[in-house]
């Protein structure tokens, strides 16, 4: 389980990006989790809830959106979703595929609550 170190990386990013809004509360965080990212959404949520205590995101909820593995065949140009981790072109059976999505683990966006006085 390396989700805790991934979440530590997430909090580094949040700290950097929320820096200009010091004092503001982070209320939601959205992650895109590729099926081939090697991370498990449920464990990311557990790690997030452990890690957030005492941070700017203490009350934030983590939303994870699973991203399927999509590829493009370099031989025939077909684009398709990889099923059962078979990396062969479903149209022409070629094996030279470009991965378009599904390996990422991306902080999409987060939402802040900013005090009225600002």
């Amino acid at each position: 389980m390396h989700e805790l170190s991934l979440i530590a990386g997430l909090f580094d990013l949040l700290e950097e990006k929320a820096g200009p809004y010091s004092g503001a509360k982070i209320v939601s965080v959205k992650l895109r989790v590729g099926r081939l990212s090697g991370a498990v959404p449920e464990l990311l949520t557990t790690a997030f809830d452990m890690y957030k205590k005492g941070t700017q995101a203490e009350e934030a909820a983590l939303e994870t959106v699973e991203v399927p593995v999509r590829v493009r065949c370099r031989s025939c140009g077909a684009e398709f979703e990889v099923e059962d981790f078979v990396f062969h072109c479903s149209a022409c059976q070629a094996t030279d595929l470009e991965i378009l999505s599904g390996t990422e683990l991306v902080l999409d966006k987060f939402e802040l609550e900013i005090g009225e006085e600002k």
């Binding site: 991934l6 809004y21 902080l107």
Partner: protein, 223 residues
């Protein structure tokens, strides 16, 4: 209270990716073939390295970085072969990260042909972390079973080569090398697959030849 949305679109592993790219640049500059060895615990990574040390050390300059949660044992085994070795004790972490290798960089010999990095025994977590290697090598030992590629797709999908290890045990196990090979190639059609017994030495020569060829490609890519 008003709400503000901040779009980021940055990968959580981007700081590791930057550290890995910097390491890779330095390794290529020095003409070092870096090999990241991954497998479950006990698949035979250290024993394979001992055999490689015997085969390569007379002609090439080798160094080894060992990753383990605790103990210095693996580095000691490699040093016993006369190869400089560094042990990273992760203290609980289930994988190596590029910055851990980066911290060791100043200590590595300036003149080097091969750097072997033995990752923490684990088929899941290490696969997510680029260490700046040119070659990612996965070991699957015959006692583990031939059904692993689909169970651990990330490790198999990101590897360059697969070593089916402990082949000397095949006669005693239900392991079907053809099934393992077929499934691994479904997950990753570009995989180079080797069958090796570090105990008897069977198949070792093919893998050594492959390593030498990979290093040759690295130092003279247009030859």
């Amino acid at each position: 209270m008003k709400r503000k949305e901040v779009e980021v679109l940055e990968d959580l592993l981007s700081s590791n990716a930057r550290a890995a790219a910097e390491l890779k640049r330095r390794l290529l500059e020095r003409g070092v073939l870096a090999v990241n060895l991954m497998s479950s615990p006990g698949a035979g990574k250290t024993t394979l390295l001992e055999r490689l040390a015997e085969r390569l050390a007379p002609r090439f300059r080798l160094a080894v970085i060992e990753g383990d949660i605790e103990t210095e044992r693996d580095a000691e085994r490699i040093r016993a072969k006369g190869i400089p070795a560094w042990q990273i004790q992760t203290g609980g972490a289930c994988h190596l990260e590029a910055k851990m290798i980066g911290r060791l960089w100043p200590e590595l010999p300036a003149e080097l042909d091969f750097l072997f990095i033995e990752n923490v025994g684990n088929l899941v977590c290490p696969a997510g972390y680029d260490l700046g290697e040119s070659l990612r090598c996965l070991l699957l030992s015959t006692p583990e079973g031939d059904d692993k590629p689909k169970k651990y797709p990330k490790a198999f999908q990101t590897a360059h080569c697969l070593i089916l290890s402990k082949t000397d045990l095949l006669a005693h196990l239900p392991f079907d090398p053809e099934r393992a090979r077929k499934e691994a190639l479904e997950v990753n059609p570009r995989l180079e697959i080797f069958s090796v017994s570090a105990l008897t030495g069977a198949g070792l020569e093919d893998f050594v030849t492959f390593l030498l060829h990979q290093r040759q490609k690295l130092i003279s890519p247009h030859a």
